[in-house]
Symmetry: C2
Subunit: 491 residues, 2 copies
């Protein structure tokens, strides 16, 4: 998961904040009161690259909740007692009993990320720790604990601004505090992303919260806690099996809402750039063939967003033997008789080849989710499955880029109408296309979740403004070149 996708600069004003607080605080206290008689505990792991923000958040939560029923533990330098025992001793000690809230500040998350940044131990020992983290979290969840993991994030720009301001945040002097972030911000963010990606599961997903605006941060976390608590209190307190526990996906940033759809390009500008980019694609494809680097491009987007046109602009400069376009429709009977990823594995390119997927494995978290073709537990765990699938692809050396072509509903309607007027495009429009428009908001939410939970450095999502087709095509060509270049650089 890219922390970057959560950098939206959301701000909440003083008034809005003051207005929201009274009700929120009463609800929190009520939920906490009900928790005391419920058969489960709450563990809130508060971590982040914004050390000071985490610190302030803890104070706020202590103020808003009934502090008598909170067990807070700030994990700084291990004590003598802790150093004498296995690493997880301290985390076990700090676990709250059923009925109480435990706030773990830093905890196993910051410990593991810091070890990576400071190169503590060996790669093997750190891999072991990661396995123990998974086991620990799974154990808690299976035991009925409501585990919430919050990462408070600041953009690199905000980190730089604070560093320049000369005002060192609390803990910046301290090796166990935030010195590792203060001194190596880029490494810290990379290690954090890696850790978050490897520990983000369907039953214990990470909530990434931007820390730039403290009111936004406080409200977001408190509301998340409240919602999760109320959701859990509302369900059976003694589930038949641990898998029965409802899991809610943390809210994703509104990536689509933040796309600037006004981008436009003149025909002339387009022509000249198109030639250059297609030339670049051709050369890179030849190099990839020679150096045996596979390429996978996945296209998703609204109906009529122009996927086909983009794909044609990419394949035109390629040699026919080098690429294959795989259109993905509803699965065949044989495909339905397999795991949903099976048909995509089958289509993976050999080294040196290019496969372009026109729609992809993301159908699982888009159409299958929205149309109820997959159960909640199925699409919820798909993020992790897809990350693992793509990781195997890129570990094997392949270039991978994923595109969401974004248009607005008005533009879509215009295109539908235009297609109906064009004889050779008429077949492209069906009643279903119109029906899908009714679920625009559901699809938008699914796209936001998808982008937030499956973007990574080696498998990035490109959300492309596509109201202007020329702009979209160039952007797609450019990112395809970038993907190829970075895979070739790694090869």
């Amino acid at each position: 998961m890219k922390l970057e996708s959560f950098e939206l600069g959301t701000k909440i004003g003083k008034e809005e904040y003051a207005e929201a607080l009274p009700e929120l605080r009463v609800a929190l206290l009520n939920a906490q009161f009900d928790l005391r008689k419920a058969g489960f505990s709450v563990v809130l792991l508060l971590a982040g690259d914004d050390y000071q923000g985490v610190d302030e958040l803890v104070d706020v939560l202590h103020e808003w909740l009934d502090a008598r029923y909170i067990d807070t533990e700030v994990f700084l330098r291990p004590t003598d007692v802790e150093r004498e025992r296995p690493l997880f001793f301290r985390y076990w000690q700090a676990l709250p009993p059923r009925g109480r809230v435990g706030i773990h500040v830093g905890g196993w998350a910051v410990g593991a990320v810091r070890a990576e940044v400071l190169d503590e131990g060996t790669p093997e020992s750190r891999a072991q720790t990661l396995r123990h983290v998974s086991g620990f979290e799974r154990g808690l969840v299976e035991d009925g604990t409501l585990l919430l993991k919050v990462w408070v994030h600041l953009s690199p720009k905000e980190h730089a601004r604070r560093r320049k301001s000369g005002k060192r945040p609390a803990g910046a002097e301290d090796e166990e505090g935030s010195r590792w972030v203060w001194e190596q911000p880029a490494e810290a963010l990379r290690a954090a992303e890696d850790f978050i990606e490897k520990t983000d599961t369907a039953s214990a997903p990470w909530w990434i919260v931007e820390g730039t605006n403290d009111r936004h941060r406080n409200l977001t976390v408190a509301r998340a806690l409240l919602e999760a608590l109320e959701g859990r209190l509302g369900s059976a307190s003694e589930p038949e099996s641990s898998a029965g526990l409802a899991v809610r996906l943390p809210p994703a940033p509104d990536v689509l809402g933040n796309v600037d759809l006004r981008a436009e390009l003149s025909r002339k500008e387009y022509r000249s750039q198109l030639d250059d980019l297609q030339d670049r694609v051709r050369k890179l494809a030849i190099e990839a063939r020679e150096r045996r680097v596979a390429t996978v491009l996945a296209f998703e987007g609204w109906d009529a967003a122009g996927k086909g046109g983009c794909i044609r602009r990419i394949t035109r400069p390629l040699e026919a033997r080098d690429y294959r376009v795989v259109p993905i429709a509803a699965p065949s009977e044989l495909e339905q008789a397999h795991h949903y990823l099976w048909r995509f594995w089958r289509e993976l390119p050999a080294r040196g080849r290019i496969v372009v997927f026109d729609r992809s494995w993301y159908g699982r978290v888009l159409v299958e989710r929205v149309e109820g073709l997959a159960r909640d537990d199925e699409w919820l765990r798909a993020y992790e499955e897809i990350r693992d699938f793509e990781e195997q692809l890129t570990e094997s050396g392949a270039a991978l880029a994923k595109f969401w072509l974004h248009i607005d509903p008005d533009e879509q309607l215009r295109r539908f109408r235009a297609r109906e007027q064009t004889p050779y495009k008429k077949y492209k429009i069906t009643d279903e296309d119109y029906r899908n428009r009714d679920r625009w908001d559901d699809y938008a939410a699914a796209v936001n979740d998808m982008v937030a939970r499956t973007s990574s450095d080696s498998a990035p999502w490109h959300v492309v403004a596509a109201n202007d087709k020329r702009h979209a095509r160039l952007r797609v060509l450019e990112e395809t070149c970038n993907a190829l270049e970075s895979a070739l650089a790694r090869a």
Copy 2:
């Protein structure tokens, strides 16, 4: 898991075999026929250090099942198509559709173990592969696949015998066949144990089958397959969620049944050895204190098996400040409000100290399982949780030994009666002790499972014949010394 615990030399005679076959084969065919209309697939992963045994087994299964509905794939040297793609491409390709049985010979298991033995790739890449194995297996199970993993094992003695016989087994010449086992049997077994331990989960447990007697091997695997298939066919074919799938624990070898309880020691012999061993314990404890190595001893056993007496023989030569005995009874209210492992984490010794648990975390898979105090899914996953817990202990450098003191029911009754005659021991006997005797067989099965699934090199179980108390005490002292010595050697 120690492969050694499965080396029992079980043999099945020709007649017994011939008698069992007809019914078994009809049942297999019927189950396979029903599978065709069921909504799930079966994947049978057949691997092992007995390459030839696996080979023969595949032939037998093809004969006994309807081969038209089996997809068998023998994973030898990757083909060109496979080498061009990520490692798991071949395993995905070979997955059967719902309604069919897929037999994966070697598969991801042998691939990973061989990579470890031959030092292929880097430790990091092998750790990655292990993560992908977990993801792959979990994905299959969550998708509804009935995943059965069988490891056919030969004892080192049998391996040596076959090597000496000069008759190279099939595949021994071939790097992708069994050359890695043939040439490095000790490394192969160690790597296999490690892999099995790390991939043995509650939803996809490993079935270890001894390959020495081919009739025993064939019957065991065929019966396991049949039982699993029938169990699954009998349950709802479309489960609400993947966690609803019934999982059966593979049968464990009858370790208790194979203990020779006749071992006896004269008082004189006992005296002299006791002094020596206690002297050794004292010296090792001093060295452990100085070199800051922690020690954990866990005692389990039948009621009246003599745990207390053994513990006293160990603690007597120790200095009071160095050790602590922790008696484990029913959990307190606070302990019950936590994860069951919580109270054991709290009691872990500091470096250089010794903690002796009189009963332990194994209560989860013993009394809680047998008395129904834990749900099936709870105690089933406990094996993995306990292995992770003990791994963290030994990774931190601690010495760990676990004892099951074994007596037979007659001896227990004699001791109960004797206690009732002895005023100061009378308090030790309650009605509950008598009630527990009624469930002797259930407890014995639980002990066999426990020993099979939680023994490892660094955390071995010692099943001690305890009808003769003197013999038991010396054996416990000796294994305690061994545990300390091996931890000190690693320190």
